[in-house]
Symmetry: C2
Subunit: 293 residues, 2 copies
């Protein structure tokens, strides 16, 4: 039976470290790190997520600001709001919650955030730094959180065969780069799989480490897992569940019940990668503060 | 016996197309595209390469300028020269030949080139665009040249297993991204191998397409090749050869003689990927001209 990689506990560990640093900073008279978030419109999921980030900031002693805008805000007005935060020296990091309403060019907004405040790591400059192994930039929170989890559990990646399923710009692609670069949690031989991959089962079965980031509940089945493999589940799809109070539950990309007996280590959903994502965002914000404040 | 992918002929084909476009431009009274190159110091190999680019420019009707500087040029002075070209609206593309002398910060110089003139594709912004599949940027010339070769020969990459050996920022890494993105020459399942890879032989043997970009002569041997695989050889190492007039010959990363009988298609060295690299650079320069001139 696999050991469960406890994202909740690991996240608490790293948040504890961050909180200590912040306490030292403020004790010495400095202002704490400050994360700003922009939420456009009234999507429930986005609001839940932004508010979770807000709570996490407060937990570790960061300042946190959420700017709410109506869905009909013009692109120009939103650009001006981003610029204001860019120029505000009391704010270290800015995230703009995606998706944005369709009349707004998401890429334009993302590229307008100063790279040094882009703690989501979506700016081309940060993506470029990631690609060439320049660690002065920011890596998007989910893949960064996964590397923090790997580091915490002393999981050796060097020389291992890692299979990443999913090539999104936010998770799969950066994860494949991080695992194959020459960093402490890199040096793996990485195969990036996606919707066009043939023989996915056979390929996965050769993996020492599987990262599933496709957003398809229970997609990864036992026949895809080599006994003893490490399984990282990024999926968090809400599926109907009448037995739950709110009528749904979170489903991972991995068929946990069937895969757990085979794997050596596995992340549960919830409580695995999810909590690490917000902690990684805090990490990026502290990094922004240290580099530029 | 494998079909040889004739980089020289394909390069001539694409150069012919570029030359036609330039002829139309100038016939309509417009100035031709203009590539500038900076060469610092007196390295023979670098000079040969820069001069080959210069000749290629002239062949297709581009303007070409080479700026030669002594190896003792200061970093500040070199930065000023880059800035001058950045601001010169008659120049579309700028390449700074690497390596630079050790007192100059190569990354600083590279990041100072305006992204829209960075036809080598080394700027973080261009690297970031590549990573997220935004084709408005520039891809470094060797991997771009390889995709042009794949396109010319109608080589299907979608769903194929491609193994890229070598993770350099200039070739292996961008190649692995291009082959796995959702473009016409992408959608392959890509495994990126490097110095820490174990079982390289076994992994390569599962590949439908092998790209060797490690700079180790004759590294890829027949036992690493699945019969019928397509083999792309990026290596161009000079090795001593008394039988040649100048005392050396170019060696690829692939043991061509032994691999050719197994492969379905293969690039020779010289005459394979090499000529495509310069043609890809011309392509980027024409693209810069069209986007911004």
């Amino acid at each position: 039976m696999a050991m469960r990689l406890d994202g909740k506990a690991v996240s608490a560990h790293f948040k504890g470290q961050i909180a200590e640093e912040v306490a030292e900073l403020t004790a010495s008279g400095k202002r704490p790190p400050h994360l700003a978030a922009i939420l456009v419109g009234d999507d429930g999921g986005s609001r839940t997520y932004i508010e979770a980030k807000d709570r996490a900031c407060k937990e570790v002693g960061f300042s946190s600001t959420i700017l709410y805008f109506n869905a009909d805000i013009s692109q120009d007005e939103l650009l001006r709001e981003v610029q204001k935060i860019n120029e505000n020296s009391e704010i270290d990091g800015l995230i703009v919650q995606l998706p944005l309403p369709s009349h707004i060019d998401e890429n334009l907004i993302t590229q307008t955030i100063f790279p040094k405040k882009d703690v989501d790591g979506f700016h081309d400059i940060n993506m470029g730094k990631l690609t060439k192994g320049d660690y002065s930039g920011y890596v998007s929170a989910t893949p960064l959180g996964i590397t923090m989890l790997l580091k915490y559990y002393d999981i050796e990646t060097s020389g291992k065969h890692a299979v990443v399923i999913g090539r999104s710009n936010i998770v799969g692609r950066p994860m494949s780069i991080l695992l194959s670069d020459s960093s402490e949690t890199g040096n793996a031989t990485v195969t990036l799989c996606h919707s066009r991959t043939k023989n996915l089962i056979e390929i996965c079965r050769t993996a020492d480490i599987v990262v599933a980031a496709i957003g398809k509940p229970y997609f990864v089945t036992p026949e895809m897992i080599k006994p003893g493999a490490i399984v990282i589940d990024v999926g968090t799809t809400r599926i109907d569940d009448d037995t739950r109070e709110h009528g749904w539950r979170l489903a991972g990309d991995v068929d946990f019940k069937l895969v757990e007996p085979l794997a050596s280590m596995i992340t549960p959903v919830p409580g695995g990668v999810g909590p690490m994502t917000i902690t990684a965002l805090l990490n990026n914000t502290l990094k922004a503060y240290k580099q530029y404040a």
